[in-house]
Homo-oligomer: 294 residues x 2
Amino acid sequence: MTGGFHARNLAIVGMGLMGGSLALAIRAQADQIVGIDSDERARRIALERGLVDSATDDLYTGVNRADVVILATPVRVIVELLRMQLGSYLRSNTLVVDIGSTKQDIVAAMAALPIGVNAVGGHPMTGKENGGIDEADGRLFRNRPFVLCPSRRTTPAARLRAQALAQSLGGLPIEMDAERHDHIVAGISHLPYLLSATLVATISNRAQDDATFWALAAGGFRDTSRLAASDVTMMGDILSTNTQAVATLLAQFRMQLAMLETMLIAGDEERLSESLLPIQAARKEWAQKYENGR
Amino acid sequence: MTGGFHARNLAIVGMGLMGGSLALAIRAQADQIVGIDSDERARRIALERGLVDSATDDLYTGVNRADVVILATPVRVIVELLRMQLGSYLRSNTLVVDIGSTKQDIVAAMAALPIGVNAVGGHPMTGKENGGIDEADGRLFRNRPFVLCPSRRTTPAARLRAQALAQSLGGLPIEMDAERHDHIVAGISHLPYLLSATLVATISNRAQDDATFWALAAGGFRDTSRLAASDVTMMGDILSTNTQAVATLLAQFRMQLAMLETMLIAGDEERLSESLLPIQAARKEWAQKYENGR
């Protein structure tokens, strides 16, 4: 089932939660793993925990012998790396896979790589509330979808190798074009973040007059507001590289909200119930199918 | 610390999650507990699990000997009970406390009770994802705020007795007027529900063209959408008895969302970050203070 993925020299650029988790998950399939990060503490912990065989802050030193390079930095750093020096450092036939959260900008930037370098956009649909290499977990990818987006530098062989890589992590590879990916994640990830943040902003505003808002908030608020605690730099990076899709989904959200609000204000309880019942059913069905009912 | 609450004959109208949990939590402070519910299965389980000493579907039989009556049905059933026959069935000096999720309509209806009956509006800020008497849990109220709202039938003695009742359940009594309560829960509970439901409606709509929306949804969607699975009858009841406050909070939410969206679409990342950082800090501070960091 692993599709026989193997790397002689695997370089991971970015030793955070995702890069570190990937290192752990792929340990047995790589002869050598090199971790590249500008942060001394991240490099030290990667070495101490045995996630990597060596660590460096120098991109050239890290990637020039690699046959597989994973880009695990924030989205816009990935785009910069692809547009600037990375391509000239790589050997021919190297496979480059990124794991950034939005894909259109990255897949477009992959076209700037030299012919002979193979590149596939990737996005494992997984994560943790708290980031950082200290949270690295080799089981993070297991049974989770791993989206793969072809680029102009994706050969048929690169496609298969990227699939094998995703499977070797325990992930479920799903191929789609970058635009479709970005539209979907705008709905299931970026829109929820914005709603969560806006909810907290609304309550913060009210709580200036009455701090009891915070004291009475319970489980429903906890769940709905959880994403508002996400890393702001990471989310700003994601939103700014997916503005159009996010704005589209926001417009659709507003339309749906206006429909429910109209029924509520009009006191049309029958239509409100008729609208809420299929929503309840859809959420329950999703939880049954994908989350063991949670 | 329990304030010495004691009931000779405690009647609980509504043997669902909340009524059943309250019966469990107050067992030791009541000589006799009577459960009243029209549903035969709920009555049977309440008896089998020993939550109550007796059970009936007849309101008069259940409450006519009570010195304390707890109303634990949906909000509009509570309002109906208060406006219609309940008052005439009660003995003088009986304490009536409801535990409905909105308070203005209920507290107003308490004025219809005969002089001599004491009544206090109540709302324990707790719950569970799944309702029903099968989920009854005597620890549900522990260390959770228990809002108490005075009515025209609240004497000083009734106020103290209701506080003692809340404390005997392990709850933390907080007094406020019904209007303030309803405004707060519109923000921390009803607005989150509507956002959650609207998010699911938006994704359902998109998923008609591309079912992959559901397959890729992960933890962020799970948390933000969880409330959409709430019981529709219960939520319809709550929303319909708090329309004005919910509409007010929705308007404030829209304003906050429009501000963030404007920055996003304008590509003003600096202002976007400056807006998101205090939101992140507020959510983290709330979690630290009230939810052990969750």
